[in-house]
């Protein structure tokens, strides 16, 4: 009993603080900064609790009636997710103030989404996973439409909600078929049942639907259609959040369910994920080539990155899982940085939306331009940045598992991706941007802090990947199979 | 099995008769009551004291032209009154309307006089079925292609769902004190102690107020407010379909009164009275009917005494008044039961 409560302490604390923030946001005296700082403090508190609780509980034990574990894998993802949310809140503070928006609901929803994602990372029971997923998804739908007076934001929320609800339905069908075929919702027990013999038709159908649902959540082709519109329309800090947090959480359950519970029937789903990974990399990168809107371009780029991460999932095994874990970290810091710079440019008076808006940036804002260069190089996978290390581990794992063709596709597509990343670099450094007056500086200290953190992380992981790879390796042993 | 079925059929016939005779009687009581309160005569031509008046009314309605106005959604327009009556009748099935008092028929014990006496989920069944009642009203309002009925249907649906919450929470207090979802056990639990209306006075008040709102009766008859919406959701209905809405309204009153009596006022029991055999059965039936009759009269009394609420007042009362009160009641009962207070 006590251990149960202890195990969910970080989530409980965060949920409680979320409610406090929600109510404080209603107060007549508006001190937006105080509420935001309280949010940051709560996320930190959850992190501290996580580190203590993680040491205190037994990583092999199942809590809450076999629904919840706190193994190294969960702790790794939870730390990553908390970091995602922390960076998102940092990016949001200036943005919210600039738009004079109420921060209460916004920040509370970010916190509740984080609770949902953390539950996903810990769930070893399909019901727990689904509840976490829905908590995250519902919060994100609202966040995407937070500026409801803006038509684009509205549209983004509507599309995201309709397609998200559809995918949740598909996922649920998959879960119920799997439940029908195996008679249990616990991943470990499911693995046990599936290991007994060839899977039944119902189980296969369930796995297929489950894969569709998860592929939707990680925005992989052919379930990616919502991504560009939603990423373009949503408030940019929320776009940032959606492109990292929910995606990382979705990969956490993807790994946990497919490489854990469904590992005995890996041969039945591996071709499916193989195809999705290849399609995602090809289509994500090719579609990004034609985008003039930076947010849309980054949306397609994030689709492509989901494809790279899927390569790690296909590779499987310890090396594959480790590479996905590391890739998620790398992708998070890089993508937050890239989106953060878009926000920063918006706040500095540049539109920051079309590629041409970046013309002559190096002359006017040399530091920002250099930061963008760094993040774009990392997205493209050029050393000495983090992106290179992430891809290196993924590709190495895939080659070791014998998926050479997939790696060939991935490398080719990485080369393609350089074209559109470098388009922005070209604009920044080689166009003079005549006619665009430098806008007056706007105070965006919080955004800048987040960006500095990301930049340092990108360089640190790129130059000294050892500790990070070790942390990812420690997250292995997803499910001790019976 | 055969004897069992006969017993069930017998109870069923008694129940259906009670329910269907209650409607014309109530119509008569309402009209005469209104006249009495307003110091006039009321219907007094058809039969002694006009007692045959409702029969004459229904014969008239039977012969009326059945209009289907232009532009209505025919299928839903036809379905709506059917749903209303159907649901109104179905809800009554789990109400114990008397005590069997150990009487056996064909060797089969009667148990409590309740049609579905073996149903373990009585209250859940009741909530589930009664919440379907709103469909009849919404569909009628929507399918009629009339602005009055659309507004009436909307108002009614919002009102019904708002008060359903408070009602369900008030019932929850009773369930908590009883520990069972069966209504006959709710009655049995009240027989040895105070009726629930006393220790759970808050819940009782909430339930009474919500009962008026759930049946769309004054002071909550916003859905058919004559002065603004003509007749609300059934403005386009005539003949037997109109009669169907009327019947369902009165049946709902009977059901809600019976529930009030069952949940909060000891059902068919009287404190200190324990009779056996057929005499006990008849007395318990009479006690139950008497208690129900009191609430039926209360419905009439209130209708002709109180003015109508405004819609914003109605919503405020429901969401900001009754809902917190019902929650407070629930918490009090929970604490009381946890402390081991037996009188709760």
């Amino acid at each position: 009993m006590l251990a149960d409560i202890l195990a969910v302490l970080p989530e409980t604390a965060l949920a409680l603080m979320g409610m406090v923030v929600l109510i404080l946001g209603l107060a007549k005296v508006r001190n937006h900064l105080a509420v935001a700082v309280l949010t940051l403090g709560s996320l930190l508190l959850a992190g501290v609790l996580l580190s203590h609780v993680g040491r205190a509980v037994d990583p092999g034990e199942h809590f809450m009636f076999g629904m919840f574990v706190l193994d190294r894998f969960a702790i790794y993802f939870k730390a990553l997710l908390l970091a995602c949310s922390f960076l998102t809140v940092l990016l949001s503070i200036d943005y919210l103030m600039r738009h004079d928006a109420r921060p209460g609901e916004y920040l509370a929803l970010v916190m509740l989404a984080t609770v949902g994602m953390m539950t996903m990372a810990s769930g070893v029971h399909l019901a727990a996973i689904y509840v976490g997923l829905e908590l995250m998804a519902l919060s994100t739908y609202v966040l995407a439409g937070y500026f409801r007076r803006q038509v684009k934001s509205h549209e983004a929320a509507a599309k995201y909600f309709v397609l998200g609800a559809l995918s949740s339905g598909i996922l649920l069908y998959g879960l119920s078929l799997l439940y029908g075929a195996t008679g249990t919702l616990e991943l470990q027990a499911i693995a046990g049942r599936l290991a007994q013999g060839p899977p039944s038709a119902a189980a296969l159908a369930g796995i297929g639907l489950l894969a569709c649902g998860f592929l939707f959540k990680v925005a992989a082709v052919p379930f990616h259609m919502w991504t560009p519109d939603v990423y373009e329309g949503a408030p940019t800090p929320i776009t940032t959040f959606m492109s990292v947090g929910p995606k990382a959480a979705a990969f956490a359950i993807f790994l946990r369910v497919f490489d854990g519970g469904l590992a005995p029937v890996a041969e039945s789903w591996r071709p499916l994920v193989w195809g999705a990974a290849a399609l995602t990399m090809v289509w994500g990168n090719i579609a990004a080539l034609t985008q003039d809107n930076v947010k849309r371009m980054l949306a397609y780029s994030s689709i492509a990155h989901a494809g790279y991460a899927l390569v790690g999932l296909v590779a499987g095994g310890d090396a594959g899982v480790q590479s996905v874990l590391l890739y998620m970290l790398v992708y998070t810091v890089t993508n937050v940085g890239a989106f953060g710079l878009v926000i920063l440019l918006e706040s500095r008076g540049y539109a920051g939306q079309t590629v041409q808006d970046f013309a002559g940036l190096a002359r006017k804002q040399p530091v920002a331009a250099f930061g963008m260069l760094l993040f774009l190089l990392s997205l493209g996978g050029i050393p000495p940045t983090a992106g290179f290390m992430g891809k290196l581990y993924v590709f190495a794992a895939a080659i070791r598992s014998g998926y050479v063709w997939l790696v060939v596709i991935a490398v080719l597509m990485s080369a393609v991706s350089l074209y559109y990343y470098l388009r922005i670099v070209l604009q920044m450094y080689l166009r003079d941007g005549e006619g665009v007056e430098p806008a007056p500086m706007v105070s965006a200290v919080w955004t800048e802090r987040a960006l500095w953190a990301c930049a340092v992380a990108v360089l640190l992981i790129g130059l000294w990947p050892g500790p990070f790879a070790a942390a990812a390796a420690a997250g292995l042993g997803i499910m001790p199979l019976p | 099995m055969g004897a069992e079925l006969i017993v069930i059929a017998g109870k069923l016939i008694v129940l259906a008769t009670l329910l269907l005779t209650a409607v014309p009687v109530m119509v008569w009581v309402e009209r005469r009551g209104a006249a009495f309160i307003q110091d006039r005569l009321g219907p007094n031509r058809v039969g002694p004291w006009g007692i045959i008046q409702p029969i004459a009314d229904s014969v008239k309605l039977l012969f009326k032209e059945d209009l289907t106005p232009a532009g209505v959604n025919r299928w839903l327009y036809f379905l709506a009154p059917m749903i209303s009556v159907f649901i109104a009748m179905l809800t009554f099935i789990v109400v114990p309307f008397g005590d069997g008092c150990g009487v056996t028929i064909l060797g089969q014990p009667l148990g409590s006089l309740m049609v579905a006496s073996e149903l373990e989920v009585g209250v859940l069944y009741l909530l589930a079925i009664s919440s379907l009642g709103v469909y009849g009203i919404v569909l009628a309002g929507w399918s009629s292609n009339n602005k009055y009925s659309l507004l009436g249907g909307l108002r009614a649906s919002a009102q019904l769902i708002s008060y359903e919450l408070s009602m369900a929470l008030a019932v929850l207090g009773v369930i908590l004190a009883t520990g069972s979802l069966r209504l006959d056990e709710v009655v049995a639990a009240q027989s040895g102690k105070l009726w629930n209306a006393v220790p759970q006075f808050l819940g009782f008040v909430v339930f009474v107020v919500a009962a008026f709102a759930e049946t769309n009766r004054l002071p909550f008859d916003l859905a058919e407010a004559e002065t603004e919406l003509v007749a609300g959701y059934h403005v386009e209905y005539s003949s037997m379909k109109f009669a169907a809405f009327m019947m369902s309204e009165y049946m709902n009153m009977v059901t809600v009164s019976a529930l009030l009596v069952t949940l909060f006022l000891g059902g068919s029991t009287l404190p200190g009275v324990h009779l056996e055999g057929w005499l006990g059965l008849v007395v318990s039936l009479a006690v139950f009917l008497g208690k129900v009759a009191f609430f039926m009269w209360l419905f009439v009394w209130v209708r002709w005494s109180l003015p109508r609420f405004r819609y914003d007042q109605l919503m405020r009362l429901g969401w900001k008044g009754l809902l917190p009160l019902a929650t407070v009641n629930l918490v009090l009962v929970a604490v009381g039961v946890a402390r081991g207070w037996t009188w709760i």
Partner: protein
């Protein structure tokens, strides 16, 4: 399943009753159709719009959403209420936590004026 036999029986009765009464009325009704008679009942002047073309307040929708939230809460409480005596103190504490979360939502809805009509 035998306990549901009376329910099915009564369902049949309840289904038949309205159908039969309306059916009788349909058989013996008077019928003199006239296009003017079939117009929607309004104010005597020909209606210019259909009822379904009109907009209505978004608050009805809000109320419906709030209803779903609180109704699900109530439904969750029913099994708890039945098992309350067996759950003892644990049940009490659990319920208070559950209610506390909902009350936060309730306060929020109240303060954001979602419960206020107009």
């Amino acid at each position: 399943m035998t306990e549901y036999i009376p329910v099915f029986l009564f369902t049949v009765v309840a289904l038949l009753f309205p159908v039969v009464t309306v059916g009788i009325a349909w058989l013996i009704r008077a019928g003199k159709h006239d296009p003017v008679k079939l117009e929607p009942y309004e104010c005597g002047i020909e209606a210019t719009t259909f009822a379904h073309d009109n907009r209505f307040s978004i608050r009805y929708y809000l109320i419906a959403v709030l209803f779903v939230v609180f109704d699900v809460e109530t439904v969750f409480l029913y099994p708890w209420a039945v098992a309350y005596r067996k759950l003892a103190l644990f049940g009490l504490v659990e319920m208070f936590i559950f209610l506390a979360i909902l009350i936060v939502g309730y306060i929020y809805a109240w303060k954001r004026k979602a419960l206020q009509w107009a």
